[in-house]
Each structure stands twice: as C-alpha cells, then as structure tokens.
C-alpha cells in the first residue's frame, strides 16, 4: 500500500511553516510523496528537498494547480482517498474499515476553505477528535493509525544525518 498526501490551498507566507510541517510529517510517517495546491511557494519545495537530501529516503514534493484533478486521477488508478476534516467520522471508529483494502491511499489535508467537491469525492471523510487543532497533528495521528505505528520502524536510505537515540544529550551521526 502506497501512501501519498495532498495539502490543499496553501497560502503564501501565512501557511509556510504549517505546510512545511505537513510535508515533513508525511515523510517521517511513511508517505512517499506530497502534493500541495494553492500558492506556488517554491521555498517550501526547496526546504523539503533539502531535508530529504540530508535525512535520506526518496520522498517527493510536487506543486499542483488543480487538486481536484489529483484526486480524480488517484481514484481512476484504483486508489482510495481519505479527507481529514474535523467534520468527518471519528478515525478510531473508521480506521479498521479503511485498512481492509490494500489499495493505495491519498490522504487529503485541508487548507483554509475546502470545497464540498472534496468531501464528495473522498471515499472517507475522517476526523481526529472533532475538536479544532491542526492539520499537522491530524495527519500524524491518521498515518500512525493507518500503519499501526510503523513510523517507528522506517529506514531512510542514503541518509547523511542519523540520530542515535539517547536518554540524555544529543548524538547526530554525519556521513560524508
């Protein structure tokens, strides 16, 4: 099962760090690619690609003008779409149903205003708690639930930087 993430309607400057954190969370929790729509802020692409270069793996980031097209193409290729929204069904109740099929998953996380078309095209609209918090925390929890906590087992090939976990202090291994 392939996991990709679609971040809707990025806004220049205002969303820069949140969108970057969405991308890095997607990668750290095992997605292979993120698309973002809205404002084409290329510095986000640069900073995510810089993380990939240093921390390994082959995570990709791509800007799209048309996020509905990405959703349609995903479904046409037989993949499933999960839209994370505070209005959706509770993740803990629905995740086992979502895990039943091994089809590729596109996880959609909202921007400021999400058009009704996204709710309708999604196979599932899923909520993490129905309380307001963050697309970053929602994405992390959903990927965690979808993969049974597999984020702790991932390996990132070709990493130049790698942390050795420690009870106190910092150990960062640097490969040349």
């Amino acid at each position: 099962m392939k996991i990709q993430v679609l971040r809707l309607s990025h806004r220049f400057d205002r969303d820069t760090r949140i969108t970057t954190h969405v991308c890095l969370t997607a990668r750290a929790f095992g997605a292979e690619k993120v698309y973002f729509s809205g404002d084409k802020e290329t510095s986000i692409i640069d900073s995510v690609e810089d993380v990939v270069k240093r921390w390994g793996g082959d995570f990709q980031i791509e800007y799209t003008k048309n996020h509905i097209k990405i959703i349609k193409e995903w479904k046409n290729k037989g993949g499933e779409v999960i839209h994370l929204t505070m209005y959706g069904e509770q993740a803990n109740e629905i995740v086992n149903e979502i895990k039943k099929s091994n089809k590729d998953k596109l996880i959609v996380v909202g921007g400021s205003k999400v058009e009704i078309d996204v709710y309708e095209k999604a196979d599932w609209n899923v909520s993490i708690t129905t309380q307001p918090h963050s697309e970053v925390s929602s994405l992390a929890i959903f990927q965690h639930l979808l993969t049974d906590g597999n984020e702790f087992n991932l390996k990132f090939d070709g990493a130049k930087l790698q942390v050795s976990p420690m009870a106190k202090g910092k150990r960062l291994n640097v490969k040349k």
Copy 2:
C-alpha cells in the same frame, strides 16, 4: 494523572501558528494547561482562549518568562517531565515505562534552540521517530501514546460548538 504542556522559546510572528497549533493539540488531546516561554505574543493567548470559550472545557494558557522555573516547580511538586526531542529515546520503546507511574506529567516541546539544562532536568527525553518533522505532530503522537488514544473519548463541558461526525458534509451544532 494531570497533563500539562510547556512550549519553549516562542518567537513572535515566525512561530505564531505553530505555537497556536501546539496549544490546540495539547487541549484536544487532553492536557489541561499550556505554558509558553520566549516572546510574549498575547494574540496567541487570545485566540486559544477564544477556542476554549466556543469549544468548551477549562483549558488554560499562561505565558512564562522562565521555563526552567516551571520545570523545577513541577518536579518539586512531585510531577514528572517528558521532553520531546528528536534526539531522545524512541517513544514506542519508552512509553510503557513512563506510564508506570500515575504522577502528573509535564510535556516539554522545543523551540529553536533548547538549552542542555532542559535535557538534564527532564525525567525522559523522548523522540517520535528520530526524523525531523514537527513539534505539533510529536506532541499529538506522544499524548496519544501516553493516554492510550483517549483523545477520542474526551468531553468538553460547556461547549457552544460541537461537531456531529458525518460520512459526507458538515454538521456543526451551535448552542446559545
């Protein structure tokens, strides 16, 4: 077991939305209070208090000039301190040890540069994956693990706004 969160070294403007998302995540996942240090950006206090007023519960937010003092006082009162850092021990390996005691927990999430004193005063330095991602996702996953996913069962008293989970569409109940 009481859970509170301490957000270190907030920076005016640059961190506004990330710190706000940290606060809202803390609340949605069952913390009762958040402290933040660094720049005293009062608009964050206003926007978090506005969410509490509308969405219920009695979550509190407080600015502190001295985060080391908060950590010391917490420990003096018999509480335990968990510092979330990518350099720490992996959460999945250490969380059962942390859950053994029912002592109150202060979860510390970093800012730009965290002084070594925080690593040393913490009872545990804990990492979510040892990859770079976000203090928002780290906090959500750690609270999820610490409370066995209890975020999905929380009730927020006195809420004016409440979502009814739906497969398609939005239903927001408004109490007057």
